[in-house]
Symmetry: C2
Subunit: 192 residues, 2 copies
């Protein structure tokens, strides 16, 4: 699991062999079975987590029991509830493995230690956070300005590989459109 992370981080940031050693010494490796939860709403998100293999989703449930998907996380992506992680407050999110997954995790204390001792980490992290914020803002903009068909087209463009890995009702939940509407859009596109 750490091997995938090492390959990834060497491509993304100017890290030395010594840096890799620090990452490895503080890393916690974990395998999650399909349908198991990595984080349950009400728990504190105690780890910054890198997905080495597999596929997870972050979702949130309304009071009346509806599930809304906030994020899909394939291999080579990070998954954390930053609010809960930063402030040690209970998370409102669930993180579930949609496929058998392998992750590498760091506690806040250890990640702060890495920040202080790996010089390229801050710049990489800043880039990652701004990309994350940018994508979240894009979703707000899309929710405000796009109709169901435009949302679906944007989704395919932004996350080309994901469509084949999730059932359609989860794509509908991510986009905030009904399953019926999404089916209609797809049928219309297939006909064209």
């Amino acid at each position: 699991m750490f091997a995938e992370f090492e390959k990834y981080i060497r491509e993304q940031a100017p890290v030395t062999d010594g840096d890799i050693k620090l990452f490895r010494e503080t890393a916690i490796e974990r395998t999650i079975r399909r349908k198991d939860l990595l984080l349950q709403a009400g728990e504190i998100c105690r780890y910054k987590t890198f997905v080495s293999k597999g596929f997870l989703r972050t979702y949130r449930t309304t009071e009346n029991g509806n599930e809304h998907i906030m994020q899909f996380s394939p291999e080579n992506s990070w998954i954390t509830d930053p609010e809960s992680f930063e402030n040690f407050t209970p998370s409102v999110y669930n993180i579930e493995a949609l496929e058998r997954s392998e992750v590498v995790m760091w506690t806040k204390k250890d990640f702060n230690y890495l920040f202080d001792n790996i010089s390229g980490l801050k710049a990489y992290s800043d880039k990652l956070i701004s990309r994350n914020l940018h994508r979240t803002r894009e979703r707000v903009f899309s929710a405000l300005s796009s109709n169901a068909e435009e949302k679906y087209d944007e989704f395919i463009k932004t996350y080309p590989g994901i469509l084949a890995r999730v059932p359609l009702h989860m794509v509908a939940s991510f986009l905030g459109v009904s399953r019926e509407t999404l089916s209609r859009i797809r049928h219309a596109q297939v006909k064209q």
Copy 2:
């Protein structure tokens, strides 16, 4: 303008007199007239900006000319397009003063210098970023799960002071509901 920032940052982070001196030496102060733009779509967002006085909005325009408000920024808040600021790419956002405003700004180079030399700044910044990401995620969740009335109620609860400072059509644009729907909701609430 800097005086308001100094008061604010002393309350928010454990800064020393020496830290304040560094902030002051690198700060750029600016006054923006009502309806003037601090940032125009297509420009690079070159500053991390603190609002000392006044009130601004960040908005984005669709190809067919519709405006969508992404953020309201009253005094004692930060306003930046992190994607553009981080990568020196043209911004898709406009930032406009809704009232005469006073801001304090730092370039990326200077802010990185502050990061390296003010020990409490990183922890403060992390907290700010995670709050920002949290609020943006809350908007995504709200867009996915709430009807117009719930969105309006959440807005009043989250931003209690803002309602009195912006015209109703801007609140509608922020919430992604039509002006007519919002008027109807408000009338119904007044009657109760």
